[in-house]
């Protein structure tokens, strides 16, 4: 007589099923709740100080009402663009090497290890490194130094996601290209990267969003500035820095501006991430999976 599941404990199994479903839903709520709480609180605190001037004016001295963070918004944009421009190509390149060419080589293992360690380095240490490597020799703070510091922080995330996403591309797809007489580098650049691109883009966005809010590395590099950015070789204003300066100040007016700045920062990150997704998601073919 083959063993059959008995009908006897169906009720118990259904109860267990319900229990675990409820636990899973509860965990989901717990994950989402902090994000919503932060957003709602930021909206509540920050929206009052938001006006057109916030986006168009420079900061005013203490006591003078009004003023905005326009230079910080532009400054953050410049620093992040620079960081992405430097960090993403290097990260993707290293990821390609690790998966497509590294094989079991010692160099690949060394790079992988370095990337993992780099990922764990506290951001303030990254700031000090950029300070001593770029700011000290140049004898001035600069947007460039800030971009480099953030770029280095982006590299490990981009490298490891690129490697992992390339690993999900079926080998059959690579063989198809190689079998057509397409050279290896071209196979990698077109077929492998293209197939892995949705995941790689997500990795880049994660890295971007992570460094967008970093303050510590900017303290020693961007330094902050009350005026419009004029050159990459000058100290530059940045949203997280400005928020920090206003938040630790003793003035209520500045506290309100800091809340508004935090709200703008988080909204800008969400908007840019969504925008990249929409733009890169377009042109996808229907069908597929």
């Amino acid at each position: 007589m083959p063993h059959r599941p008995s009908r006897a404990n169906v009720g118990r199994r259904q109860a267990a099923n319900h229990l675990f479903s409820v636990l899973a839903i509860l965990s989901t709520v717990l994950v989402i709740a902090p994000l919503f709480a932060i957003l709602v609180y930021l909206l509540f605190q920050g929206v009052r100080s938001l006006n057109v001037a916030f986006f168009t004016h420079l900061p005013r001295p203490v006591g003078e009402p009004g003023g905005g963070m326009a230079n910080s918004i532009v400054g953050s944009g410049i620093i992040l663009a620079l960081a992405s421009l430097l960090g993403i190509p290097v990260g993707i390149g290293a990821g390609i090497y690790l998966y497509e060419f590294g094989g079991g080589k010692t160099l690949a293992n060394a790079i992988r290890f370095t990337a993992d360690v780099l990922n764990g380095v506290p951001s303030i240490v990254m700031g000090i490194a950029a300070y001593s490597l770029i700011v000290v020799p140049q004898k001035h703070f600069s947007a460039f130094a800030a971009g480099v510091a953030l770029a280095i922080m982006m590299v490990p995330t981009v490298t490891r996601t690129t490697e992992e996403m390339l690993a999900t591309v079926p080998n059959a797809v690579r063989e198809a290209a190689l079998g057509l007489g397409i050279p290896k580098w071209r196979t990698v650049m077109t077929v492998s990267l293209k197939t892995a691109s949705p995941g790689i883009i997500t990795g880049c966005m994660l890295a971007f969003a992570r460094v967008a809010g970093e303050t510590a590395p900017l303290l020693f590099t961007a330094f902050g500035n009350q005026f419009w950015p004029a050159s990459l070789n000058e100290p530059i204003a940045a949203l997280p820095l400005q928020i920090f300066v206003y938040a630790v100040s003793p003035y209520d007016e500045w506290h309100r501006l800091a809340w508004a700045g935090a709200l703008v920062l988080i909204v800008l990150i969400m908007v840019s991430v969504t925008l990249v997704r929409v733009v890169t998601g377009r042109g996808m073919l229907n069908g597929g999976h």
Binding site: P170, E175, A176, A177, I182, V191, S197, L285, N286, G288
Partner: protein, 252 residues
């Protein structure tokens, strides 16, 4: 037009394992040649040695001479040149998932830098017609992904992609083993049509398939080519006892 293939004393290894042992054979031009044998006998390794695909595996290596037409493919050509002349169709259909049907077929030309749109259009239509897929896909060539087709259609798409670069030889590694009987019959019809223009080498587990499509058949066993003769002779009056045992199902 297809060209013949001459193989002389071909040996291959995966790491320490000697998988092909002194293979000698001559594959005639513009005909279909089937390779049969139990799993692990070396027939897939053998076809991969014919277009140097085995080199994509870092532990694989081969020694010996393979002449395709008049070219010694191990001495006088790069792997990339070899594979442009010798197309390959794999066991599992492997269309490029991010490309449209059109781009899949055009990929061999496009990714080698060919851009003339009028010629590409022509090649895509001709290849899809040759692969008997044109009527099924002509209305959504550029709007549907290659991966949206059924398994049998995908395999015919892969055949279209392979013949779009106008190879002289077409290697097929169990092209129908992942397909249902209807799709299999379509692929076999296709091989029948294509062999007038290309030299076809087909690895198969299905002996009826070998008997249906191939003029010549080779029987592989543990890395040796046991017997290579006309398909009729192999299936009706094999010279070697081991071939007879295999085709009558007494082992394997």
């Amino acid at each position: 037009m297809g060209v013949g293939i001459e193989v002389e004393d071909l040996n291959a290894w995966y790491g320490q394992t000697h998988t092909l042992k002194g293979i000698n054979l001559q594959i005639p031009a513009n005909s279909a040649t089937a390779l049969i044998g139990p799993s692990g006998c070396g027939k897939s390794t053998f076809v991969r040695c014919l277009n140097r695909m085995h080199e994509t595996n870092p532990v694989a290596r081969a020694e010996g001479t393979v002449r395709v037409g008049n070219v010694d493919i191990y001495k006088d050509a790069s792997p990339v040149e070899v594979r442009r002349r010798i197309g390959m169709v794999f066991e599992r259909p492997n269309p490029f998932p991010t490309m449209s049907i059109y781009d899949n077929v055009a990929s061999g030309l496009k990714l080698n830098g060919f851009r003339n749109k009028r010629v590409l259009d022509e090649v895509v239509e001709r290849s899809l017609r040759q692969a008997a897929l044109w009527d099924e896909v002509k209305d959504h060539l550029k709007s549907k992904s290659g991966a949206s087709l059924s398994g049998g259609q995908q395999q015919r798409l892969c055949i279209a992609r392979a013949i779009a670069v106008d190879p002289e030889v077409l290697l097929m590694d169990e092209p129908a083993s992942a397909l249902d009987p209807v799709s299999t019959a379509k692929i076999e019809d296709l091989i029948f049509q294509l062999k007038d223009e290309y030299t076809i080498v087909i690895v198969t587990h299905n002996m009826q398939q070998a008997a249906r499509v191939a003029e010549k058949t080779g029987f592989f066993l543990s890395g040796h080519l046991v017997e290579f003769d006309s398909t009729h002779k192999i299936f009706t009056n094999p010279s070697d006892k081991r071939t007879e045992d295999y085709i009558t199902g007494r082992f394997g």
